[in-house]
């Protein structure tokens, strides 16, 4: 006999207690699931510059690496990378203690903090005037240091490396250098969830990007914008029978991203394949690892608004401008250059008026401009058709991409900070660019950020840079030609004094 039976009310409540518990449990699970696996956590920086440097644009959910894995890889492969870790790839750390380089953002996805790239990784340049200077950052300038080719290859090799195992990864994460301090459950997660997923993702990427083994090294400050894009976003066939050597080697210099408002409507990208700044931004974000599903539109808009009016940086050593040559330089620039590139007006503002400068932001046909065709060739009509399907169903669906017949002429605001020159970065200085192609350096070093204030551009003789940072740029390699932009109308037949005057003037742009 039960001497302590429940009352009828207690019996009913007892019955419901299970239901209630289940409901509460279910609610907790749903909320927990939402908070951990649906909701993502990002840092929104107060300042636009900080946001630009470290704010997430949504590249992490699909392509990101857990931050501990990212740091552990630098430790595991310290023999290959050297003590500087990812600095080996030209990534910029603001201080010795910085946890992440500029251009790397974090986002907590599925409860794991992941890191990957943002706009700043490709759009921050550095320079030094004197050998002993600390590098100065130029935000919004083309990166002159980033070796994306090597970085990519490194990750792909990690995926295939037998040394990259769960045991080694966990040991590296727990090492004092990384300081992961994984507990028992963390280790289980890293062993059975994180490691297999990272390895599988790297291996899959390696498969997709297998063509890069057939490419020539992009070198520092350059990127093959569209071939990885074709493979990753669209799974285009990239084997030798489907792609020509010219199309395969279309690496180009990173561009500057300041003063975007006047550029809207101009032909953007080196070959001018899009006239919308917003579409170009979204497309470039895809290159940083964003996907149409994970893109953080709000964060991207913040960057867009910032670069919309970001001013071009002034020449860093005003004393190095020979003002006596400026009037002559200005007159010659107006005569030879401004029609295609615009110039500063009497008030000292850069004039982007396409009514005044009818060729500004327009396509120069290939046979006219004469520069290396491979970058142009790497962007195909098929590819533009595929691009125009991206973001289908969203208001920001791409509609502006098209194949052009040449390269676009651009405003030259802040041109001093955009060395080396031409779309493929084949000419180290402005002064060299005013020489006929035959007189331009044919083999020279990229990778030094020591600045030549006379010729305007980074030094190309390798002076002032560590050996491992230097990259011998060979203009005879496919895609690297320094031909074009030459002849009477391009000023390459002017007297040296005239050319010097134009260069002096261009320092002021």
């Amino acid at each position: 006999m039960n001497y302590n039976p429940p009352t009828p009310v207690e019996r009913v409540l007892g019955r419901w207690r299970w239901v209630r518990c289940l409901v509460v449990l279910l609610v907790i699970l749903v909320v927990g699931y939402y908070l951990i696996f649906v909701n993502q956590y990002v840092v929104a920086y107060r300042g636009n510059l900080e946001q630009f440097k470290y704010g997430s644009i949504g590249s992490e959910p699909v392509n990101g690496l857990p931050i501990l894995v990212f740091k552990a890889l630098a430790f595991m492969y310290r023999d290959e990378l050297g003590p500087g870790g990812y600095r080996r790839f030209g990534m910029l750390y603001e201080t010795e203690q910085s946890e992440l380089p500029i251009g790397m953002s974090r986002r907590i996805v599925d409860g794991v903090e992941r890191v990957w790239l943002n706009c700043a990784v490709c759009h921050v340049g550095t320079y030094r005037i004197n050998l002993t200077d600390q590098p100065k950052f130029i935000y919004g300038a083309p990166s002159n240091n980033l070796r994306l080719f090597d970085l990519l290859k490194f990750f792909l090799q990690v995926g295939a490396d037998p040394k990259f195992s769960a045991d080694n990864l966990i040991a590296a994460i727990d090492s004092p250098a990384v300081g992961g301090n994984l507990n028992f459950f963390d280790r289980l997660i890293y062993r059975y969830v994180v490691f297999p997923r990272v390895q599988a993702a790297l291996q899959q990427l390696s498969q997709r990007l297998s063509f890069i083994d057939r490419q020539y090294d992009w070198g520092p400050g350059r990127v093959d914008t569209f071939n990885p894009y074709k493979a990753i976003q669209f799974n285009f066939p990239m084997d030798a029978s489907h792609i020509t050597t010219a199309e395969l080697n279309g690496s180009a210099d990173f561009p500057s991203i300041w003063e975007q408002r006047p550029r809207d409507g101009m032909h953007l990208h080196w070959d001018g394949n899009n006239t919308s700044v917003d579409e170009r931004n979204l497309s470039a974000a895809l290159g940083a690892g964003v996907t149409p599903v994970t893109v953080d539109i709000a964060a991207l808009k913040r960057i867009r608004d910032w670069i919309w009016t970001l001013p071009a940086p002034p020449f860093p050593v005003p004393s190095a401008i020979d003002t006596s040559k400026l009037p002559r330089g200005r007159r010659l620039f107006a005569e030879y250059c401004a029609g295609c590139h615009g110039m500063k007006n009497a008030a000292g503002q850069y004039d982007y008026d396409t009514n005044r400068y009818p060729r500004l932001g327009q396509i120069e046909p290939l046979d006219q401009i004469g520069t290396d065709q491979d970058r142009w060739a790497s962007y195909t009509q098929d590819f533009s058709a595929a691009q125009n399907m991206l973001y289908a169903g969203y208001p920001w669906r791409f509609t502006h991409f098209s194949k052009t017949g040449g390269y676009a002429s651009q405003p030259l605001d802040g041109i001093w900070a955009r060395s080396p020159y031409l779309h493929n970065g084949s000419v180290p200085t402005l002064r060299d660019l005013l020489e006929p192609a035959a007189k331009r350096p044919d083999k020279w070093y990229r990778g030094s950020d020591l600045y030549d204030t006379a010729k305007v551009g980074y030094r190309s003789d390798g002076y002032g840079a560590a050996k491992q940072d230097l990259f011998l740029y060979n203009t005879s390699v496919p895609g690297n030609s320094n031909m074009g932009h030459e002849g009477k109308i391009y000023g390459t037949e002017l007297s040296p004094a005239d050319k010097d005057a134009i260069v002096e003037y261009m320092k002021t742009l």
Binding site: P5, T7, P8, V9, E10, V12, L13, W16
Partner: protein, 465 residues
């Protein structure tokens, strides 16, 4: 006094109406003022009457009402609503009720016993009922507090009918002046009468005639026990308004349903002598007692009901949260409507008009917020009823009849505010008026002291002096 002067009649006219005797078939009451059924938990736990109740009833007799209707008096312990209410379930209770009768009669006041059975509306069943589900017409759980119910078998129905009959017999034996069946406000008889609650498929459910069968059997059984010369009246809802809390619930009985039931209970002149009109198929109900609801007091005292129902904790969660509480109060006031004083008068008039066509000797009482002479006289004059019953205004002013003889009502500060704090405090504290603002004193503490003194006066004089 402004009210009296605005009205067509002078106060003297109103007082003449109110203080004229009311003759029932078997009972004469000296005026038209009845104290409606109400009580605190004043008695012994097992249902024996307590000393405080003697004091309690005497207060009102002394105050001048013509007749007192006892508080809810269970005919069986299974049918109690609250613990510590004097019952009439056994002959051993007769001496106590005889003493009550004596005390009241000393003031030329009549006393009716309200025979009651809670059914499923058993707010605190006590330890006696702890392991039993409440008896009802239905198995459906009470929708307000979630009190569990079981549908009575026919045998159980007969047993309860007999309990009512024996209760009436004991009332007569105790020398009381009559009995009232509590057929209103959601208790067992309502649970049979109401189309919103009764879901039986047998002879006691379905048509209104079937639903009224239980009440009619009680009336006949009582008449069998007490004869035809003992006052028997029926308290009944004019309209059920069973959907007040959850709009998707059935509305319950309409005025026409009630009329049909009343006609049946006349039983060709052998049935009830009068009707006492209320409304609302639960207790409490926004229409009964009509007024406000004090959420603070609700939250303070509701917890005592926790073990009683399966929805009490849910209700408490609603009452005690900053959105649910005010929302409930809004619903409470919205469902009541604008009228408080005389809220049931139109129902009473409709029923009375029809019934006196059949039998003019049947009288009608009406309850609901009465405390002003002009309103009371008006409802009597216009034929809504023959007398009114009052509860809260009499708690506020035990001597309200004396006041009404001289004035239209109490002075403003002393009026019953219909705050219903008495109702909520009754769950844990001695019944009395808990509206602080009504009491004398310059500070809250002084007023509260006055309040406590008044509320505790029910225990004076003490049993042993």
């Amino acid at each position: 006094m402004a009210r009296a002067m605005d009205a067509t009649f002078l106060h003297e006219d109103n007082a003449a109406v109110i203080f004229s005797p009311l003759k029932f078939r078997n009972l004469e009451v000296k005026n038209r003022l009845f104290r409606s059924n109400l009580s605190g938990m004043f008695d012994e736990y097992n249902g024996h009457g307590g000393h405080a109740r003697l004091n309690w009833e005497e207060k009102f007799a002394k105050g001048g009402v013509g007749c007192i209707i006892s508080s809810y008096t269970p005919v069986a312990v299974r049918g109690r609503i609250l613990i510590r209410y004097a019952m009439i379930d056994n002959d051993d209770k007769v001496p106590f009720w005889r003493e009550i009768g004596k005390r009241v009669h000393d003031y030329d006041c009549r006393f009716l016993m309200q025979l009651s059975h809670s059914g499923r509306q058993q707010d605190m069943g006590g330890v006696e009922n702890m392991f039993k589900k409440a008896l009802s017409s239905t198995n459906q759980t009470d929708f307000f507090h979630g009190i569990l119910a079981q549908a009575m078998t026919v045998a159980e129905i007969h047993e309860v009918v007999e309990q009512f009959a024996q209760g009436a017999r004991r009332a007569r034996q105790a020398g009381l002046d009559g009995v009232e069946l509590h057929g209103a406000n959601g208790y067992l008889i309502t649970q049979f009468l109401s189309s919103g609650i009764n879901d039986r498929k047998d002879d006691y459910g379905g048509s209104v005639e079937n639903r009224a069968r239980f009440a009619l059997e009680i009336v006949r059984a009582i008449r069998r026990e007490v004869g035809r010369d003992f006052h028997l009246q029926m308290k009944i809802n004019g309209v059920d308004h069973n959907d007040w809390l959850y709009p998707w619930k059935k509305k319950g009985n309409t005025l026409e349903d009630t009329l049909t039931i009343c006609k049946m209970l006349l039983d060709d002149g052998k049935g009830v002598d009068s009707f006492h009109i209320s409304s609302g198929s639960t207790f409490p109900h926004p229409r009964n007692p009509p007024g406000d609801i004090s959420i603070v007091n609700l939250v303070r005292w509701y917890a005592g009901l926790f073990p009683s129902g399966v929805r009490t904790r849910f209700n408490y969660a609603i009452f005690s949260n900053p959105i649910g509480g005010p929302l409930f109060r809004w619903l409470w006031r919205f469902r009541r409507g604008k009228i408080i004083e005389g809220i049931n008068a139109t129902y009473a008039k409709y029923l009375r008009d029809e019934i006196i066509k059949i039998d003019p000797s049947v009288k009608f009482l009406c309850t609901g917020g009465f405390q002003h002479a002009d309103v009371i006289a008006d409802v009597i004059r216009n034929g809504s009823c023959d007398g009114v019953s009052m509860a809260r205004p009499l708690i506020a002013n035990n001597d309200l009849p004396h006041i009404l003889r001289a004035a239209n009502g109490p002075i403003r500060q002393k009026e019953c505010t219909y705050c219903n704090k008495c109702l909520l405090n009754d769950l844990a504290n001695p019944l009395g008026c808990y509206e602080v603002q009504r009491y004398d004193g310059d500070t809250f503490d002084e007023k509260w002291e006055s309040l406590i003194k008044e509320v505790m006066s029910v225990f004076e004089p003490p049993l042993y002096q």
